[in-house]
Symmetry: C2
Subunit: 171 residues, 2 copies
Amino acid sequence: MQVSSPTLTRQPLYQQTAAALSEILAKTEPGSFLPSEPSLAQELGVSRSTLREAMRTFENQGLIVRRRGIGTYVTTPPKAIETGLEVLESVASMAKRMGFEVEISDLLIKESKPSAEEGSIFEIQPDHSLLTISRIVHVDGIPSAYLVDILPKCICRKISPRIRLRDPSST
Amino acid sequence: MQVSSPTLTRQPLYQQTAAALSEILAKTEPGSFLPSEPSLAQELGVSRSTLREAMRTFENQGLIVRRRGIGTYVTTPPKAIETGLEVLESVASMAKRMGFEVEISDLLIKESKPSAEEGSIFEIQPDHSLLTISRIVHVDGIPSAYLVDILPKCICRKISPRIRLRDPSST
DNA sequence: CGCAATTTGTACGTATGTATT
DNA sequence: TAATACATACGTACAAATTGC
């Protein structure tokens, strides 16, 4: 199960490996484990580093889960979809990884108080603030996704300590 | 500008490097270039691989842009925020990278026809379908973000060829 | 136009750390 | 304790893109 002939280098080896890996994942029962990295690498004829680079994609997408000391198993897919979507990975990073040109436009950040529903989702007090971040992702120039993230302002620091909002009144 | 003493290994070296790099980024004028990877690596006292692993975070966040043959420069931040937020990287991958436990719940995928506004955003025909994907991201068990992605169904295949929707009527 | 220098991207091999069984 | 599996880290080499000569 070699990945490709060494002479054809149109695509990076790790992407070719990802393609081959994709077929293996498709044939693997959800919940069951993949072979170990060394054996998989040997089977595909690539180094372990390259294999791991290829696996990275699927891990980010949440299609596989890797556990130190245990192994790597294929995720049980969510009910609504057959194989994974970008449940974990963002559309932007996914497209970028596949070699497309990615641009962000219409970035908009709003601060607001939670509605009743939002309050129940996040289990926060009504006086806490929510941030709503929306933007449009362009893939190779065409608008391809409209993304909205809603998250408590307090969480924001935890996840991304570098964030610093300007005074909203100045916009 | 060494990253840390070699004996303290509480945190992976590339994360310590990311922290050090973060300070460098903060002191770097937006739009200007960083030193080359070899020199930066030497300055920080780590290998180029480790430095690149550290840079990966910021690249995914869109804080830096790397150009082969040119160099790496710091992004001009969007108007609304002082430093970058997860404009490119999803909340989930960011949190995961920082070592938090990440779970996805309440995944919901709806198919619909575009509204007038949505049609103008995506520049598609009214008979094309839109997919609305929503889910809640839990970081270390607490609900931390509500994410909504809206994208044309036709785009979906391009970005994520592995997606395969089930018959909506069966849900 | 080609050629060389610079810079990031990819790929490999090896060694060691850490978690699980 | 030992064996296994993934995680991290290093060094090296070459490929590919860009710039300047």
